[in-house]
């Protein structure tokens, strides 16, 4: 990662989380990884039409899920995520089987009722706004939830990829969140894997790090090694704390890997030339004597088997009916405002 500019030094961490926290993070990273592998298998076996997800982002996304103030309404944190956020959801406590349901587009898929692609979460009870496919629009929408939180306890957190920052919506979030005297409690996260679909970071940007773009707007910016869960945890803690306390925006860029290519459209095979955060974390935990290789293998086997079983069950869950297309066109209650 020699390209990281010295002006925004990457935050790195040494051993600083408690053994329990380290193992909790490991457990969640592993679950997230195995879930994505299961989804890819489902796709390859014809149990789904398309896969996109977050293998390679677990070391950052798990800490994010753990640090969020989870709940409903302005006094909790709103999350405006993208399609690589499974690890965040799992860390928050989501049921991985629901992800299988969305992959298999069953009627039981709680996120979209068989309508949307895998990884397109929606959980109003935890303030997780619906993930939508168009890149970067979440940055414009996050302004609104953050504005509703100017006097509340919660903050808004928005996340997207590196290539997407070229969209005007990224600038919109910078402009609207930093207006003098009207700053918004908005944490903007860019998960930088140095790829668009097939377009590499090189030649597409005029700066070393995207975080630079926040400086002009007077907001704190940090670049963190998103392959290191401890560094990520600390950087996120600091950023979230700043936004929550100061009620002002913050731009955090996390350098991450893309371990299975862009999506099933590019094969979803494992790539060997990127850092695998899970492997690195396993090495560290072993070195620290927190968990043995055998225990890791057993854990992985167990989760793998659980999900393999679950995917079989999901196969027999009902598909939506054609006539369901007419459901949920118009609401007759204002549920987001608490109407039952």
């Amino acid at each position: 990662m020699s390209t990281i500019a010295p002006v925004t030094p990457i935050a790195r961490a040494s051993e600083r989380l408690s053994p329990d926290k380290c193992l909790q993070i490991y457990d969640l990273m592993l679950r997230a990884r195995v879930l994505e592998e299961r989804l890819i298998t489902m796709y390859k076996q014809g149990d789904g039409y398309f896969w996109i997800g977050g293998p390679g982002e677990e070391a950052f996304n798990v800490p994010l899920g753990l640090l969020v103030d989870k709940g409903q309404g302005v006094d909790h944190d709103y999350l405006h995520l993208h399609y690589r956020s499974s690890a965040t959801l799992l860390a928050m406590g989501a049921d991985p089987v629901d992800s299988l349901r969305q992959m298999k587009n069953t009627a039981t898929d709680p996120y979209s009722r068989g309508r949307n692609f895998a990884g397109h979460y929606s959980m109003r009870k935890w303030n997780v706004a619906p993930v939508s496919s168009p890149i970067e629009v979440q940055y414009s929408i996050a302004i609104g939830t953050a504005m509703a939180q100017r006097k509340a306890k919660g903050i808004s957190i928005v996340q997207g990829g590196d290539a997407g920052t070229a969209e005007g919506d990224f600038a919109t979030a910078l402009v609207w969140s930093s207006r003098k005297g009207c700053e918004l409690p908005l944490l903007m996260i860019v998960t930088n894997n140095r790829w668009g679909i097939s377009t590499s970071y090189e030649g597409q940007h005029g700066y070393e790090q995207i975080a630079e773009r926040g400086r002009a707007f007077g907001m704190p910016v940090t670049v963190v090694d998103g392959n290191d869960p401890e560094a990520s945890y600390e950087a996120l803690e600091k950023a979230i704390d700043y936004v929550r306390t100061e009620k002002k925006p913050y731009l955090l860029e996390a350098m991450v890997s893309r371990l299975r290519g862009h999506s099933s459209a590019s094969g979803a095979n494992f790539v060997k030339n990127e850092v695998d955060c899970l492997e690195e974390w396993e090495k560290k935990l072993e070195a620290r004597g927190l968990i043995s290789r055998a225990e890791m293998a057993a854990k992985r086997d167990q989760i793998t088997n659980e999900l393999a079983e679950a995917s079989k069950r999901v196969r027999s869950e009902p598909q939506p009916e054609g006539s369901n297309i007419w459901d949920y066109v118009f609401a007759d209650k204002n549920i987001v405002a608490g109407e039952e």
Binding site: G73, V74, Y78, D109, P110, Y111, S112, R113, R115, N116, H120, S122, M123, R124, A129, P130, S132, P134, V137, Y139, S140, I141, A142, I143, G144, T145, A146, M147, A148, Q149, S156, G168, D169, T172, V175, W176, R179, D327, Y328, V329, F330, A331, D332, K333, N334, I335, V336, A337, G338, E339
Partner: protein, 354 residues
């Protein structure tokens, strides 16, 4: 006797004082101007946004998701065309989340020609808007309807677009038609219109306005008639009425029924059906450009479902299919329906015998 723009302002006041409206915002919507058409003068929750329509729509969606009740304005609908993806998103969120999140926002925007606005202050938005599923679309042609439709829009749990026919914004209504408005026009002006010059100390005095919820989806029969049905909305309603009155006055038995649709989506198919069954001749009038026009939807459906009721080919009178509306008066008049062209179309249809 309120004007349409005063009626809108009063509805927004009712919205923020007792229907839960938390934010009224857009470019130049807040003090000191209160909107380029004065629609938001003196409102407590009105504020000025950055000059960024995508931010305006995005913010409205986000506020709505957070349980607030935003009313966002796009200064002219001509400047909403860089936000269609966000409007589509607002319209599909309830559906794509399988009923998890509704998006209770109101978007208001002035539309249409008639003020010599040239290319970028004359656009219509009805064809574009009706193409975005998940939205309700309303458009008043009288101050009373403006008041009542806006209150309904605010109360609705879905995204609702409130299209303001800009040529009618200064049009006055009948005295007392807005429940609670003062009898006298000047009294109202003194209460709620900002003074010229320095307004920093000014505050409006609001009349005690009453509720009026005009149901979304219900048309208004603006004129009863028997020979031809005219389906229209917004600026073309008073034009069509004037054309119909002229024709009726001539004693040739040309008695047109004018349906003011008011609600473009959902729209009042029952009212349309009843009228077409009665008159057997139908004309749709609107200002948007002719190709892939909302009136064409109505005519297509009428032709498909009421074919055997028709004594004459159904007719559309719409904006010319050209890239813009020109500034010169001749250009503007040649580009969108006028009273004369409506009158001629009604007369032509009326001449058809079964």
């Amino acid at each position: 006797m309120a004007t349409m723009i005063q009626a809108i302002r009063m509805a927004l006041h009712v919205g923020e004082s007792r229907l839960g409206v938390t934010d009224i915002f857009g470019e130049d919507v807040g003090a000191p101007l209160g909107g380029v058409f004065t629609g938001t003068q003196g409102l407590e929750t009105a504020w000025n946004t950055p000059l960024d329509e995508r931010g305006i729509v995005g913010t409205a969606i986000g506020l709505a998701l957070a349980g607030q009740k935003p009313v966002a304005e796009i200064q002219f609908c001509d400047y909403a065309f860089n936000t269609i993806d966000l409007l589509k998103l607002a319209g599909n969120t309830y559906w794509s989340s399988g009923g998890d999140w509704n998006v209770p926002m109101v978007l208001m925007t002035p539309v249409g020609a008639g003020i010599r606005g040239s290319l970028y202050h004359s656009h219509s938005f009805d064809a574009q808007a009706t193409r975005i599923p998940g939205w309700k679309i309303v458009m008043p042609s009288t101050p009373r309807d403006a008041y009542g439709l806006l209150l309904s829009a605010i109360q609705d749990p879905n995204p609702v677009m409130f299209l303001m026919p800009k040529a009618l914004l200064r049009m006055k209504g009948a005295p007392g038609e807005i429940p609670g408005e003062p009898e006298d026009e000047r009294t109202l002006n003194q209460m709620i219109d900002a003074p010229l010059g320095d307004r920093s100390a000014w505050k409006p005095t609001w009349p005690s306005l009453e509720d009026l919820f005009i149901p979304i989806g219900k048309a208004r029969i603006a004129r009863e008639g028997s020979r031809v049905t005219v389906i229209t909305y917004g600026r073309n309603v008073p034009m069509a009425l004037a054309a119909a009155e002229e024709l009726a006055g001539e004693g040739q038995g040309i008695d047109a029924e004018i349906i003011d649709l008011r609600s473009l989506h959902p729209y009042d198919w029952d009212a349309i059906t009843a009228s077409v069954r009665k008159t057997n001749r139908v004309l749709c009038v609107n200002e948007d450009t002719e190709i892939t026009n909302f009136g064409e939807h109505l005519i297509r459906r009428i032709a498909e479902e009421l074919f055997y009721e028709l004594y004459a080919p159904p007719k559309l009178l719409a904006g010319a299919h050209i890239p813009g509306i020109g500034l010169a008066d001749n250009l503007e008049r040649a580009s969108v329906p006028q009273k004369e062209s409506i009158r001629a179309a009604i007369a032509e249809l009326a001449a058809h015998e079964p």
